[in-house]
């Protein structure tokens, strides 16, 4: 072992960076803490023994015994923590590799389709373009499903970092509604917005909150079979911002309601009305809101409709 390796091993911060855990769960940090505990305990045992015992040999034996017991405990604790930390690191590496391996074919598919449609390697007929568009659309659907599975896996592995900043929830909702208008119109669903004037800024990861709103709105439109109305309301409630999406759709059967936020769960109404879905959207939505220290919930009546809501912190209170 050369000097550089020894210095590297002594750099606790550097060593702990390889684990996806806070420093107090890092085995090297635990080792240092246990070392300090052993030294302090040994000195303490010596000073107490010295006060009450005259025989120096007996003092030495007591100190040795206490140190020995503490060393064994330190070894067991550090070894256990190291195994947990290694498992967390391997899980993170596995997720990284799987993310890469699952996404790689989609980039290839997307670019090959782009190249064919561009006409740079020969003109294509309208029929061929139509089938390529279908291929592109289905590839995108599969990609979105894979992304949801990867996100759900990351949430469960505790690898779900958020980029929290102040942002305008009003503008975000307006953008989401604009991009959903075509889908809503095609589904014969009218969307109305009720947003409080002078709404304070929200504090959170805008991209992730967008995912939650899109999920609520997508479900509201999907389950409003035939002519329907979806109402989105946003207002300040106590120290948070409250958002709800209310629909007049098929509703959720009472016996399914307690499972609605579970991974891969799809209510009987989903199968009855033959709607597409992975069963991951609400699980991910709940994880996102809880990670923002917000609340999420719903109320629903079969045949009458559902209201899904969440709260997130206001920006001023976070800074």
């Amino acid at each position: 072992m050369n000097k550089e390796t020894i210095l590297q091993r002594l750099n606790i911060r550097q060593q702990c960076k390889k684990y996806p855990l806070p420093i107090w769960q890092c085995p090297q940090f635990i080792f240092v803490v246990m070392g300090v505990v052993i030294i302090i305990s040994t000195l303490f045992t010596y000073s107490i023994s010295f006060k009450y015992i005259d025989d120096p040999l007996l003092i030495a034996l007591i100190v040795l015994l206490i140190s020995w017991i503490l060393l064994i405990m330190a070894y067991v604790v550090t070894h256990g923590v190291e195994k947990l930390a290694d498992a967390a690191r391997l899980k993170m590496e596995f997720l990284t590799i799987m993310t890469h391996q699952l996404r790689a074919p989609f980039a290839n598919l997307k670019w090959i389709i782009d190249l064919l449609v561009s006409g740079k390697i020969g003109t294509i007929s309208n029929d061929q373009k139509e089938y390529l568009d279908i291929l592109a659309e289905n590839s995108k659907r599969l990609e979105e499903l894979i992304n949801k599975i990867i996100t759900a896996s990351k949430i469960e592995a505790g690898q779900f970092p958020l980029d929290k900043k102040p942002f305008s929830l009003k503008e975000l909702v307006q953008r989401v509604v604009t991009s959903a208008r075509a889908y809503a119109e095609a589904s014969n669903v009218k969307i109305t917005l009720n947003i409080q004037e002078n709404l304070p800024k929200a504090f959170g990861d805008q991209a992730r909150i967008r995912e939650v709103i899109e999920n609520f709105l997508d479900n509201a439109i999907k389950y409003s079979k035939g002519k329907g109305e979806v109402e989105i309301s946003v207002f300040k409630k106590d120290k948070s911002l409250y958002l709800e999406v209310k629909d007049s759709g098929v509703g959720i059967p009472k016996e399914d309601q307690k499972y609605i936020f579970q991974k891969f769960f799809r209510a009987k109404s989903a199968f009855k009305h033959q709607t597409q879905g992975s069963g991951l959207g609400l699980f991910i939505a709940k994880s996102i809101i809880l990670a923002h220290k917000g609340k999420i919930g719903f109320k629903s009546q079969e045949g009458k409709g559902s209201t899904f809501w969440f709260t997130i912190p206001i920006a001023e209170q976070q800074q």
Binding site: T96, T99, H100, R103, A104, F106, A107, N108, K110, W111, I112, D114, L115, S118, K120, I121, E143, P161
Partner: protein, 125 residues
Amino acid sequence: MKKILFIEDESVLQKTFEKALRAEGYDIISALDGETGLKLAQTQKPDLILLDLILPRLNGFEVLKKLKEDPQTKEIPVIILTNLERMSDIDKALELGATTYLVKVNYSLEEVIKKIKKTLGDSEE
């Protein structure tokens, strides 16, 4: 004619980019692994390098590090083209000297070509 070196272990992607970039008037040379890519960069002196990160024999980070350490290749702009999207990977690549970091699934072929043209100073914008 400007020369682009594409270091990517997926031969399907290599073929796609060869056709797309030749149609734009670029000469393209390819390598299926990091070691071969590094040797080609040193011998062929391309105008730009497109570099994947997960590569056999020598990974993209190591290739990038060696490119930037070599006085003969350190000025060649490098665009990372990968499916790795962790902030730590992005920061690492940019710290090692990559010009741009693109996550494959987030860009269309047209958008990648625009980035290439912009880096080479051939952009019409």
